[in-house]
């Protein structure tokens, strides 16, 4: 852009950027440092609790806590499940929408797309009632009354509108559209079946965009809060985000707030995994986000 830049200007730009980035990063740094040092280190400082000794005892204790361990396992299973489902569904659906030619194909896609305009929070009530009053499940009769339906079961964690993730389908479809149709012709001439075509020909070509979908799915499932809050009461099948948050609310209301370092360790367990995933794979992530954000 503008090439001539005075030293003062350069300095000002870097200064602003560094201060700004520090503000964004500071809370996480504070949290992690406070949780790995000793209590004495923490209370000796104000701005940044620099640890004089390094210990992960607090995290080890949390993992040994059977409840937190359960939450972590549940969240990991749920994330894995949604990652697999979302990848499969978006691969197959975008194959159908780009490589097969039949009447009504585009209308079906438009119906899918329209649903993207409806924010999930608006349908939280009907979705809750759909799960709670689902006929013949969880002690319900044919009218959906009498039992608890799928509420408080794994069904509530594994089903839902996330199964058909339209944004993910959209993203994969964009990529698949750019693949020339000759590949499809070649596959058919060689006698490859539909699934073989999808998984041996297209899957390797859209791998980059699938990585984006894996990261976004992981982060959104890991950070899912409202749905587990209304749908799950049983601590054995609760997920980490809602579980830890509710645990903290109970503690705060009863006035038994843990020491700050313990508190920060407990919250770091929820906050750190998405950050790590994001930092490791952020190059893909930002491209995907910008792509989806502007086009979607």
């Amino acid at each position: 852009m503008v090439n001539e830049r005075s030293k003062l200007e350069t300095f000002a730009i870097y200064l602003l950027l560094i201060i700004g980035s520090a503000v964004m990063f500071y809370p996480f740094l504070f949290q992690v440092l406070a949780s790995i040092g000793s209590n004495k280190d923490y209370y000796a400082t104000i701005l940044l609790p620099i640890p004089t000794e390094f210990n992960l005892d607090r995290y080890v204790n949390l993992i040994h806590n059977s409840l937190i361990y359960r939450y972590l396992i549940n969240t990991a299973l749920r994330s894995l499940y949604f990652i697999v489902v979302t990848c499969l569904v978006s691969l197959i659906a975008s194959y159908v929408f780009t490589k097969l030619r039949f009447k009504g194909r585009d209308s079906v896609f438009v119906v899918f797309l329209t649903s993207m305009m409806i924010p999930a929070q608006v349908t939280i009530i009907p979705t809750y009632l759909l799960f709670a009053r689902f006929p013949f499940l969880g002690g319900n009769n044919w009218q959906g009354l009498g039992g608890h339906g799928m509420i408080d079961t794994w069904g509530a964690l594994l089903l839902g509108s996330g199964i058909v993730n339209v944004a993910a389908i959209f993203l994969v479809k964009q990529t698949m559209e750019s693949i020339p149709f000759e590949y499809e012709e070649a596959a058919r001439i060689d006698g490859a079946g539909v699934f073989r075509t999808i998984f041996t020909i297209y899957f390797p070509m859209v791998r980059a965009v699938l990585v984006v979908i894996i990261i976004t799915t992981f982060i959104s499932i890991w950070n899912d809060y409202l749905w587990p809050l209304v749908a799950i009461n049983n601590p054995n099948i609760q997920v980490i985000n809602t579980g830890v948050t509710s645990l903290l609310t109970t503690m705060m209301q009863s006035g038994q707030v843990p020491e700050y370092p313990d508190f920060f360790a407990l919250t770091a367990i929820v906050v750190v995994p998405p950050i790590l995933v994001y930092l490791l794979l952020q190059r893909n992530f930002i491209q995907g986000y910008a792509m989806a954000g502007i086009k979607g």
Binding site: V96, L100, I163
Partner: protein
């Protein structure tokens, strides 16, 4: 017949072809409609899930908004427009909706001005753009609920860090939880901090998409940097700004965690916003009809704003 033919080379069974058996006719029919058969059979299960978990809830919430139901016993009772009448006349329903929009505006102003400024800085050929961008985006990927709980602990009137720091520096301490102004302030500040990374990335992508020849031409004509910003950069980013603005207002109807965990709608319901109101109606008072009516109002607002956004983006393309 092992390989699957294309539609263009698949012959149609002629009406006079009496020699063809039913099976052969079926085969010819399938060959012609093979794509459709496979397509629909692959889409059918997806569409079934989609219909049950995405389409049905929308219709269901519209139906429920005309009924009264506690969601547990009996069946919904039709009450016509009663819930909507209540939405507009009694309680704080309309207020919580407008408040959400107002917070949305404040958050937008913060996110857009700072976000645009940071994107401008990042676009100035600085070293380590990736690192800054990464750091700015960090808050977006973490759990809002946990962020709200951390804020809760930090702002605690007795043990909170902010309290301790103020005390140590000899300032007069404030009990934030009793002040509408301060709770609104923290709510908005935290939401801006949490969401600004997205704005930065969208603006940066927009800035990088501006044709550099425009800048060169302006420089040749002797335009100052301020003029370039005013007459080239800002107009080029107008579609993106509109997009961010409308999406930001829509997102403000979905703010939940900080209100539920940090302010609990208080003090005295003065920071309550629509989604939290819906939650209270549905899961604390078990008034599903009223909660659904509020949801439908949010849906209408969102739908209108999305349509406006769509219209604008269409107009910009032509």
């Amino acid at each position: 017949m092992s390989r699957i033919p294309f539609k263009k080379e698949a012959p149609r069974a002629q009406p006079g072809d009496a020699s063809l058996s039913f099976r052969q006719r079926l085969r010819l029919f399938y060959n012609r409609h093979r794509d459709g058969a496979i397509g629909y059979s692959l889409l059918a299960p997806m569409f079934a899930f989609f219909a049950v978990f995405s389409l049905f809830p929308v219709l269901f919430v519209i139906y429920l908004s005309f009924t009264e139901w506690n969601g547990v016993l009996g069946l919904p009772k039709w009450v016509g427009l009663d819930n909507f009448e209540r939405f507009f006349t009694t309680g704080d329903y309309l207020l919580t909706l407008l408040r959400a929009g107002f917070y949305g505006l404040l958050i937008l102003v913060g996110c857009m001005s700072v976000g645009f400024f940071i994107a401008l800085l990042l676009n100035q050929k600085v070293k380590g753009v990736g690192l800054y961008r990464t750091l700015w985006y960090l808050p977006v990927v973490v759990s809002f609920a946990v962020v709200a709980q951390i804020a809760n602990a930090v702002l605690d009137p007795v043990t909170g860090l902010v309290h301790n720091v103020m005390e140590r520096f000899g300032m007069e301490t404030i009990i934030f939880q009793q002040s509408v102004f301060w709770m609104t302030f923290w709510l908005i500040l935290i939401t801006i901090w949490k969401g600004i990374g997205g704005t930065v990335i969208i603006y940066l992508a927009g800035l990088q998409g501006i044709d550099t020849s425009l800048y060169e031409a302006a420089k040749v004509d002797g335009a100052t940097r301020f003029n370039i910003l005013l007459y080239i950069t800002l107009p080029s980013l107008r579609p993106i700004t509109m997009y961010i603005a409308i999406m930001g207002i829509i997102a403000s109807f979905q703010i939940f965690e900080p209100v539920q965990l940090l302010t609990r709608g208080g003090p005295q319901g003065h920071t309550n916003i629509i989604l939290h109101r819906i939650y209270q109606d549905a899961f604390q008072s078990f008034n599903m009809g009223m909660a659904s009516a509020s949801s439908v109002m949010v849906l209408l607002f969102t739908f209108t704003l999305t349509m406006i956004q769509y219209r604008i983006s269409q107009r910009n393309q032509t």
